[in-house]
């Protein structure tokens, strides 16, 4: 499996390099589905130009990156445009390498977990167990999913700064799978520093840490368990505080906070994108604006608690589901988040057979991806459509992502049910019983 993996990886790199030579990068960097006010390279360059002139980039409302990103982007922007393109391809290569390692470690991690919990399984479930042979080709599928994923390619070509966010999230996942929970918590804090919402990922890291160090039949609410959660949370928040302090020292004041976190929370910029926020708050009555901002922001993070309780035995899947909720409901979503979701999807290919809506979901994704730039063009340039067309596409795209997330969760839970209870359920009279969700 090494050769096909290597070939697909190299093909992905060559594809990105080839596409950088075309006019696609310039077109993509203007597309609002790919770049948002938070991740746009053009805006980052504008902030750097102001910074070089001696004007604080946070005094205006164009630049919304955190000070650490300001420094990194300042370093990158000093090179020539061709070198900058190469740097973005290099960042994608790094992302691909981390994904390979994740696929590798994930396989081993799943086999270990399975070995410890196989005693709880139903005897009939033996054929549903994961085998080493199945997990060997995980690397290949993950590489293919990342290299030829149009969303990841678009994010790379548009020079969106979401690649940094994705790399840090993947590093957090990797360290979590390897067992370095404290390092994973530090990466979660770094991701939260850059885009705020990943702070909720400290919950799966804490649960994973507890599960790794669990002895005997310790329950989730035991005092020692709570102590371990607090350790992880403490590491996360302390690292975040240190990063904020360094940023304050770099910028010289706290003025970057309203421009970065205040911007993410308050959503003042209503640039169209594939999310739910922009048109909703365009057409919102002023009187209710604060209320609905609070509702929508709570909606992003609220799913942590029920998902954590339901998926307490599977913190990696919880991590992945939380990536979904962040990517769908955040205030300025883009293709960077979607690309990350698709790149990690092959890790759960053993769940695919239990999913119900794959055809509908794939069709919705294809249609929305093709239609979005067309409707945007018709509205903004041709003048023959209006904002509702693009809004419809954004609703359909969000629905497609939601269907994929909930279908995956459904399939996962159903597989767990079959593992624990066997897959043959017969009624007293010999006919097949139905498996339904019930309270």
């Amino acid at each position: 499996m090494v050769l096909p993996t290597a070939i697909s990886f190299v093909c992905g790199v060559i594809l990105r390099l080839a596409l950088f030579r075309s006019s696609l990068p310039d077109w993509l960097s203007t597309k609002t589905e790919v770049v948002t006010p938070l991740t746009s390279w053009g805006r980052a360059m504008e902030g750097l130009a102001l910074h070089r002139e001696g004007i604080s980039p946070y005094s205006g409302d164009i630049f919304h990156e955190s000070p650490l990103m300001l420094k990194i982007l300042g370093f990158i922007s000093r090179f020539s445009p061709n070198t900058i393109n190469l740097i973005f391809v290099l960042l994608d290569i790094i992302q691909g390498m981390i994904l390979l390692r994740i696929a590798n470690t994930f396989g081993r991690h799943m086999l270990l977990r399975q070995a410890t919990s196989v005693k709880n399984y139903h005897p009939d479930a033996k054929k549903n167990l994961l085998r080493k042979e199945d997990l060997m080709d995980l690397q290949f599928y993950v590489t293919v999913a990342f290299s030829f994923n149009p969303y990841s390619i678009a994010t790379c070509l548009a020079r969106s700064t979401a690649v940094f966010n994705n790399i840090i999230l993947l590093l957090a996942l990797y360290q979590m799978l390897k067992g370095n929970s404290f390092l994973s918590a530090v990466f979660v804090a770094l991701a939260a520093y850059i885009s705020m919402y990943p702070i909720i990922l400290c919950v799966p890291v804490a649960v994973h840490y507890f599960l790794m160090s669990r002895k005997g039949g310790m329950h989730y609410t035991d005092p020692t368990a709570v102590v371990s959660y607090l350790q992880i949370l403490g590491v996360t928040f302390v690292s975040l505080a240190i990063m904020l302090l360094f940023s304050m020292l770099f910028v010289g004041s706290w003025e970057f906070i309203p421009s970065t976190y205040g911007f993410i929370l308050g959503v003042p910029d209503l640039t169209p994108n594939l999310g739910l926020f922009w048109y909703f708050f365009t057409e919102m009555f002023e009187h209710f604006r604060t209320f609905f901002i609070c509702v929508f922001q709570i909606n992003v993070v609220i799913y942590t608690i029920p998902l954590a309780i339901r998926l307490r035995e599977h913190p990696t899947f919880l991590f992945y589901m939380l990536l979904y909720t962040i990517g769908i409901f955040k205030s300025y979503p883009g293709y960077g988040d979607v690309g990350l979701m698709f790149a990690l999807l092959p890790l759960w290919k053993h769940v695919y057979q239990y999913m119900r809506n794959t055809f509908v979901t794939v069709c919705m994704f294809l249609v929305c991806t093709v239609f979005a730039p067309i409707q945007y063009y018709l509205w903004i340039y041709a003048g023959s459509a209006n904002a509702n067309f693009y809004f419809a596409i954004s609703l359909a795209f969000s629905t497609a992502q939601i269907l994929m997330a909930t279908d995956l969760l459904f399939g996962f839970l159903k597989r767990e049910f079959y593992l624990h209870n066997g897959d043959k359920h017969k009624l007293p009279d010999g006919t097949d019983a139905q498996i339904i969700l019930d309270s």
Binding site: G60, Y381, D438
Partner: protein, 573 residues
């Protein structure tokens, strides 16, 4: 010493400009001639200098030269305050008071359109060096969308000492004035020296009205004009409160083509020399011409109008929007220098916050070569708080065109922030070009150091301050669908509910195996609910043995309804 003057200039072939200038000098708080309404406002809000102009139309510099007072289309207000704290609040109160005084929507000049220019709008009157270098006390704002009409002329006339019944102001017929190409009302208050020793400052109020007519219409191509044809009235009286009551007609071109003659004959003809430029001014003392009948000043041309190229002014500018689509665009300003010497200009722009200007795209080019400005003052905008402010100081090379370009991105506003006609577009204020000219060609303004027009006829200065305003811009923004608020809220909340419902189901419920035949359809469930209430004590031991009946999951309820209806009777026993 109030003075009234009237200047008539033929500014270009085919157009006649009339400027009506009234200057009042008075001691502070001495309301003998100074209008009390304006004086009260000035003292309450600690105003040191005030310049308000209300203009309709665009002054074409390349055809008409320079007006006595340059003004942008719409309303422009710039004020220097006495040093005190809380200038922002004072400014907000002042614009509200002025909007009532002048019947204009000056109250819209809030923080979203107000800037503090650093170099472009220094005090025009007495001010110390330290005070004028500090831009803390100056505020500048424009309303390019504002329309000027009779409602604005009336309060302007009310400020005059003699009102509008006698004197030159009686000529101002609003029907005729607002028929012209361009009309501009101006109110300028500044501090000047009271006498040559300059021990105490006095407040000077200068009111100007500039109108541009086209006298050739309806005249068989001849550009004859008279008071009767321009204002539908003749001058019948003079204001007794005025010290100087004169009419000036620029007759520099009287002997050359096109030849014209004035009637009645002027009292005398002055020569105005200004840095090499000579002009001949015919002077009329109004008092000499009022009896026996009213004064109807006429100019009669010998031949019909023939158009030819006029000479270009030393510095003029053009500005326009570039690009297509509703996403982004650019602004280009071309500044022309027709003199044979270099000159330095200060270029000021105020751009509203919703056109996000990219500072990295700002370029100044001359003939393809990039020019680096001497100084740049760029203050980026904060959304819904303050506008973009840009001031550039750079050099204009002789006999060349300098091009200033920058690009912007159009923002998407909230639906309540669009004006009633959303697709009309949004206006961007004029850019201001300030420079000092070494020659006074086509320059008609009074010099800054004097109050009266006559004093500038023997002007020996070698530098002339010039301020130009460019065109305003009209930019369209992408609009949402204004009829959709409820629909949008419902649809977006539906998508959130899909996620919430599915995740809620999956996290709060467990999988169980159940008998599909035991599941009931909706009708049967309702029936069993009512029956259970009647038979509850009897059914309790039975219900424990049965499979757990499903209550809420309707996924398969419709398909099983037929089956369950058949087995209804069986399942309830």
């Amino acid at each position: 010493m109030p003075g009234r003057r009237w200047i008539t200039t033929i500014i270009s072939l085919g157009h006649a400009a009339q400027t009506f200038l009234i200057t009042i000098n008075s001691k502070v708080q001495h309301y003998h001639l100074f209008p009390k309404s304006l004086g009260d406002v000035l003292t309450t809000y600690k105003v040191k200098e005030l310049h308000l102009s209300q203009t309709q139309g665009l002054w074409k510099h390349e055809k008409w030269g320079y007006p006595p007072e340059d003004a942008p289309p719409g309303d422009e207000l710039w004020v220097w305050f006495q040093p005190h704290s809380g200038v922002d609040q004072t400014w907000a109160d002042l614009v509200n008071a002025l909007s009532g005084l002048f019947c204009a929507s000056l109250n819209f000049m809030d923080s979203k359109s107000t800037v503090q220019p650093r170099w472009s709008f220094r005090p025009a009157g007495l001010a110390s060096e330290f005070y004028s270098a500090n831009s803390r006390f100056v505020r500048y704002s424009t309303l390019p969308r504002e329309v000027v009409c009779t409602e604005n002329l009336t309060p302007w006339k009310k400020l005059l000492p003699c009102g509008s019944k006698i004197g030159l102001a009686s000529l101002l017929n609003s029907v005729k004035i607002y028929d012209g190409f361009y009309h501009s009302l101006g109110v300028h208050v500044r501090s000047v020296c009271q006498d040559t020793q300059c021990l105490t400052p006095a407040t000077e109020l200068k009111q100007t009205l500039t109108v541009v007519y086209d006298p050739t219409t309806n005249k068989n191509g001849k550009q004859d004009w008279s008071f009767q044809s321009m204002f539908d009235r003749t001058l019948q009286s003079q204001c007794p409160l005025a010290d100087t009551r004169k009419i000036y007609v620029d007759v520099t071109t009287q002997e050359t083509l096109p030849k014209f003659s004035l009637s009645p004959v002027p009292d005398f003809v002055l020569n105005q020399k200004r840095s090499g430029e000579e002009r001949k001014i015919a002077v009329y003392q109004i008092g000499n011409h009022l009896s026996p009948s009213s004064l109807n000043l006429k100019a009669m041309y010998e031949e019909k109008l023939t158009f030819s190229n006029s000479s270009l002014p030393p510095v003029y500018a053009n500005r326009f929007v570039t690009g297509y689509g509703l996403e982004r665009g650019g602004v280009t300003c071309m500044i022309y220098n027709t003199m044979s010497s270099n000159t330095t200009v200060i270029f000021m722009e105020t751009v509203p916050w919703f056109l996000r200007v990219y500072f990295s795209s700002l370029r100044i080019e001359n003939d393809g070569k990039e020019i680096k400005p001497y100084k740049i003052n760029f203050i980026p905008a904060k959304d819904r708080a303050n506008p973009y402010q840009m001031e550039l100081v750079f050099r204009l090379f002789a006999n060349s065109v300098t091009k200033i370009t920058y690009s912007f991105e159009r923002a998407f506003l909230k639906w309540t922030e669009y004006p009633p006609d959303a697709n009309h577009g949004f206006y961007v204020s004029s850019a201001v070009v300030s420079t000092v000219l070494p020659v006074a060609s086509q320059y008609t303004a009074t010099s800054q150091s004097v109050s009266l027009l006559e004093e500038s006829f023997s002007d020996s200065s070698s530098s002339f301050f010039l301020r130009l305003h460019t065109e305003t811009l009209l930019v369209s923004l992408p609009t949402p669908d204004f009829s959709m608020p409820y629909n949008v809220i419902c649809l977006a909340c539906t998508v959130v509910a899909i996620a919430f419902g599915s995740l809620h189901n999956l996290t709060t419920r467990d999988f169980t195996a159940s008998d599909p035949s035991k599941r009931k359809g909706l009708v049967a469930k309702l029936k069993s609910f009512f029956k259970k209430e009647k038979e509850s004590p009897e059914n309790k031991p039975d219900s424990k043995e049965e499979e757990i009946p499903s209550q809420k999951d309707k996924d398969n309820s419709k398909s099983e309804e037929k089956d369950s209806k058949k087995k209804d009777g069986n399942s309830e026993t």
